[in-house]
Symmetry: C2
Amino acid sequence: MRLTTKGRFAVTAMLDIALYEADKPVTLAGISERQSISLSYLEQLFSRLRKQGLVSSVRGPGGGYRIAKAHNEISVSDIITAVDEQIDATQCGGNENCHDEGRCMTHELWASLNNKILDYLSGVSLADMVDMQRKKGAGTVVFSPRKCGSEATIAA
Amino acid sequence: MRLTTKGRFAVTAMLDIALYEADKPVTLAGISERQSISLSYLEQLFSRLRKQGLVSSVRGPGGGYRIAKAHNEISVSDIITAVDEQIDATQCGGNENCHDEGRCMTHELWASLNNKILDYLSGVSLADMVDMQRKKGAGTVVFSPRKCGSEATIAA
DNA sequence: ACAATAATTGACTAAAACAGTAGGTTATTA
DNA sequence: TAATAACCTACTGTTTTAGTCAATTATTGT
């Protein structure tokens, strides 16, 4: 799997919908304003999220996006893998040094790390995040995805 | 923290030294050949590794690099943070939405994930990796860092 | 019917990071 | 003194990131 700010944006946007959708669906323009994410960039992200069945869309005035599943059935890893497609395909492709019996030894390290990350992120659901936010938010829902927290890019 | 193929290369190279150093230090040219990593690229990586005190160098003929500490005192996360400098500095810098009381809520998610990753990687030492490799290697030490295993890039 | 709204699509772009090259300088040894 | 090998700086091509821009399609209220 693969996670950058793209994934963070997607998670933040999904959380925004989960918090703000009630009677009406949530517009990308609204998310864009609240979360300071470019509208066009959101459009790209939601194209993927919709194709993966994580959100449903309603066109026209009063339209917008809704979360398509129960909040506890969508994990953070679902969201991330939806927007950050794996180019994972090249499993030791074209490399004669890494075959069945002689697997590169770092292989196991990274594979193992990858599982750890997946385990963690698939254990956190949208419902969990909504709960967390509601509990501490106390009225003021303030979060922004950019330049917040330590940057990291892990390849495993 | 931040981990890409650069980090993988560094870990692989360090492991190569750990496996091959005996009486003489290990040359970058040797690592380059065995692990198919560009010599100049290795030079860049080892400049960092040396400055962080993970390896010591010997110049001139018969020279090369040695691991500067006990193998069980160097963790994978040490190696990775040595070569992949954090641009982490901008902790919510210049963003009025993310302050002390109103920390962005995804913040905690990513911070938490980051800790999970760090925990894991700091728990694996160079000695562990040498052991693993010696046990299964059975004579043929074959590993290569590139195109081996699933690609992933995680930012937390 | 018509204008406003909002999703949907596709192509294009500046900046950064990644991975690597090239060419040189300095210290050490045989 | 010649070979070795670390050390250093600058440059380069490719990919990814994080957008922008412009157009189209569907829906709703008037």
